[in-house]
Symmetry: C2
Subunit: 592 residues, 2 copies
């Protein structure tokens, strides 16, 4: 990049480039007026471009009268071309916090390439401007050094991903955006087809079907940095259109994909300047649920879940005893450092528990001065309480929070409480920590609809030893599926796919697909599997979220150039348009 960055343009140096070693060089810079001020008859301008900024000095003795007049009337964000000579800054004015802080450029020529009206907000990092304003003038927001840094990080990550995959024999293949509905679960965006009245394309929720077809088509190793679409409501970590690094390989087993991806992630993290140990930990799904209560654990801190089911079985506290009797579980976390919290503050935690499905939340606080506070100690009895204290490794200053419920609810409650307490207690979670979660169950069971569905998706391969349980004991079916988890987020997930047509039909049938849908919705897939489909599997990495985490941001809106916002109405923010009746008529539609 350094080779060409100053070629094919009006400048010969960027604004972030000049150093003491360049003193006396004749240079041309272009950029934006960031800050400007008069001092001692001279005009000082911080000229900014994407690479940094350089102090320009305009001395009336060194430029024409006309140019000095121009310099006196510069406004913020004017676009300039400056010719001048690099000189060392006077002693005492060197700025060690600025890459170009040792030098300044004494202008001999000034050209205003464009003017600017007053900017709607200051182009500074860490500005407090509300997001609606930032989004309305997104092009101004993008001029903030931090936004450029984030977009550059995204570029770096994407290129490192491509490089690693290219080297490993993967072919980048584009799959259609104007596609068909596939059973991914979320709502599709529909696109009316003009030559086919009443028929619609669907924007792809993922290229899953296409990438499987590419494997059947003998491409063997495919990837795509693919745009995907889900018509869901906006959230900080979710946009209706998002980007995934979509990867698929033939002639592989689970460990092949995982090993290959470790190499890719190693290169990507290095490119992003993140150090991490490899190989990554591989944690079975069951262990993740037992220890962290969720399948995407943040393992940068402890406060693990401890199962107390056997300890409290038949104890005097009815809530626990009855839960155990009903076949449910009792678990707890120990929030060290919260033992002195007030009863009121602790009670507020019950809201988090109930938001995750619990009916209440039991707790015991151990104050730093040795007291024990709890609504439940008196019921537990000394013996059980002592066992709990031992199991939970209790010390003065600890707060133990309990959940007694089904496996799903107890884990969800304590997982949420664990993350909340880590935040509240300011437990260090710096840096990044990746791991694999493996061995997901194949099916999940919906108590309400009394139906089985795929935990991952119905194209996931089942270990051969479990094939005979599909009809008889589906919940005992394992699967070759794996998620890569980063800092408590799912950074990606994948599986080995079913390449056997008969097995595919059995799994779809188990998931409630009837004979008609089997042909209409899945016929093309099943026919493809009948025509020499190779064993294959893959993974999809959420690029937006990965970059968000690497950039240390809370919102995906900070790592994409033109995000959707719920509030905005400016065309730049992608708010939808009105269309004419004629346009609608062309696609055979009318509004209700």
């Amino acid at each position: 990049m350094t080779e060409f960055i100053n070629e094919y343009c009006m400048h010969d140096h960027t604004c972030g480039e000049l150093r003491a070693s360049d003193v006396d060089a004749q240079v041309t810079l272009t950029g934006w007026v960031w800050h400007n001020r008069d001092h001692g008859g001279l005009i000082f301008v911080d000229l900014r471009d994407r690479e940094g900024y350089t102090q320009i000095v305009i001395d009336p003795d060194c430029v024409s009268e006309e140019e000095f007049h121009v310099a006196e009337h510069l406004g913020r964000e004017f676009v300039l071309k400056i010719t001048g000579k690099v000189r060392a800054r006077a002693e005492g004015t060197v700025n060690p916090n600025m890459a170009t802080g040792e030098i300044e450029v004494l202008a001999s020529g000034i050209e205003v390439l464009n003017t600017s009206v007053t900017p709607p907000f200051s182009i500074e990092d860490g500005i407090e401007t509300d997001e609606t304003t930032r989004m309305k003038w997104r092009y101004m927001d993008l001029r903030r050094p931090e936004m450029y840094k984030n977009l550059k990080l995204r570029h770096t990550v994407a290129q490192a991903m491509r490089k690693a995959l290219n080297e490993r024999g993967f072919l980048e293949v584009e799959t259609p955006i104007l596609a068909n509905s596939t059973p991914e679960g979320a709502r599709d965006y529909l696109v009316p087809s003009r030559p086919n009245p009443g028929k619609f394309y669907a924007l792809p929720q993922s290229p899953q079907q296409f990438k499987q077809m590419l494997m059947v088509g003998g491409i063997e190793r495919y990837y795509q940095i693919a745009r995907c679409f889900r018509d869901e409501d906006l959230r900080a970590d979710r946009q209706p259109e998002f980007t995934q690094v979509d990867i698929e390989m033939s002639f592989v087993q689970e460990n092949d994909v995982i090993d290959m991806m470790e190499g890719v992630f190693k290169e990507v993290l290095e490119a992003a300047g993140v150090e991490h140990e490899f190989p990554l930990q591989r944690m079975p799904w069951k262990e993740a649920m037992d220890r962290f209560g969720c399948d995407r654990p943040d393992i940068r801190f402890g406060m693990e879940l401890v199962e107390l089911t056997e300890i409290v079985r038949g104890c005097g506290f009815g809530v626990f005893a009855k839960a155990v009797e009903a076949g449910n579980i009792v678990k707890a976390i120990n929030a060290k450092g919260a033992g002195d919290w007030s009863r009121g503050d602790i009670d507020k935690l019950a809201d988090i528990a109930s938001a995750n499905g619990a009916k209440g939340m039991a707790w015991i606080a151990y104050t730093t001065d040795g007291k024990e506070k709890s609504p439940i100690i008196k019921f537990l009895g000394d013996e059980v309480h002592a066992k709990i204290k031992e199991a939970m490794n209790v010390e003065p200053g600890d707060l133990v929070l309990f959940a007694a419920d089904t496996f799903d609810i107890a884990n969800a409650v304590l997982s949420a409480l664990r993350l909340h307490m880590a935040e509240a207690l300011n437990i260090p979670r710096d840096g990044h920590k990746l791991l694999w979660v493996v061995d997901f169950p194949m099916f999940k069971y919906d108590e309400e609809t009394k139906k089985y569905a795929a935990e991952h998706h119905p194209f996931t391969m089942i270990p051969k030893s479990d094939w005979d349980k599909i009809e008889t004991d589906p919940m005992a079916c394992g699967s070759y599926s794996y998620d890569i988890v980063m800092d408590g987020f799912e950074a990606g997930g994948g599986s080995i796919r079913i390449h056997n047509a008969e097995l595919q039909k059995r799994v779809l049938k188990r998931c409630g697909v009837d004979d008609e849908d089997m042909e209409v919705k899945f016929g093309h897939l099943i026919h493809a599997l009948e025509l020499g489909a190779p064993p294959h599997g893959g993974i999809a990495i959420g690029l937006d979220r990965l970059v968000m985490l690497l950039a240390g941001k809370d919102s995906i809106r900070d790592v994409i150039a033109f995000p959707k916002t719920s509030s905005a109405a400016d065309p730049m923010t992608g708010a939808p348009n009105e269309v004419t009746t004629r346009q609608l008529k062309e696609v055979n539609l009318r509004t209700l």
Copy 2:
């Protein structure tokens, strides 16, 4: 790639890899049964993967009885894993036309990874299978070596493009697919927005507005291999969704972009194995029109247009004389080698002329035996005819075809006839020839609507010396725009953009944009230009067409994995779906 191609998978060599130097190596291959035959008690299988194919020999003495039985019942396109030993082929059976033709693999183990029903067509290059069938089973079609080669070429071109741009300081930035209507001219695909009843996204016809916003946002150098959408009818060289390499730079003038892109094209062509001279020719638009009759000339052959207007002024042939009198032009081409064509064959050429707007077509044939045949010689008179012969460099065996019409029609007619005659006369057009066409006029005038429109687009910069002609003499306004032309196709086009808000408003007004539209449709752009927009420009390269030309194909359908076809109804070919009334109701629509 060689480093990793055999890692993370079930094989240790590809089917295109083994050579005489590998003899005696123990290897595992995976792939598809391409051809299989029994011979002398042995079974021979050509095992194919994407990299090539290898002859496998199955000898009943070297595998188990069970495995030999399996081998006897293999079908075409079965998926196999073969373990065995490489051995030199017996003398006389070496195949020099096959990369692995010196060796074969004597199997010691056979595993059927998947079976296949009978394929719908043979997986061979150059097959005659009709396109509908190929598209319906596209995954089978993709197994043809040629399709993989084309997709790999596309990958190679895309990666070379990225590498060249990355090195030059360009950032790959993604812009929205759920976007707004922009005035690109073609019909938009609409996407109803569920939370905004009656409002619609439009799929982008190009990221033009977004990339200009990125320049206003200080990104300075942007590119994207961008999906674009136009709701137009299908053609061999046009798909409703297509891919362009979209590029934009700040602080540049026209030659900066052209010079930069020459370096990029040099690297891309090298990666694609194409030799070409650089720098490329730069031909002014006017010269391209004068010499070739079109702005995307195929300069791999001559047969240039010759203007005869002055020669025929006032001549005895009324059609020519009247055309000149009316201010039109008279031009001709000399199709060497067609002088002996029959009158009937020549008369058929008039259809091409009339399809391009001509009222008729004059011609003179000079037969190889020295005769002159023509319906017009007798009117021209000897003197004018002699001058024409001289101007057209006539020899025996030549056929001169004339057009006498407006500048636009005369050129369109002769351009079409030139290409037709090159095809008909089998004039060599091998290899590739790129050139720049520059200096397009800014405006074009529609005689019917009596309106001016932008020749390129209304964001194109006009040379400062022409600014005062925008209102007074628009047809005399030049522009900083440029196309890169390859083998008679427009491979890409771009321009320096207007960065001055006032100038942008004048140009839009000249193109008929009224005050309301100026604010509603272009307000965001104009406001952006008012806030310190840098000088900027760029280009867009049509990736599909570029790869199609490099692959030597006539149809874009041969260089993308899943093209749209008008005739197909299989989900794999992207035919649109029916949707339910409930789905339509969610987006506040009903069918007419």
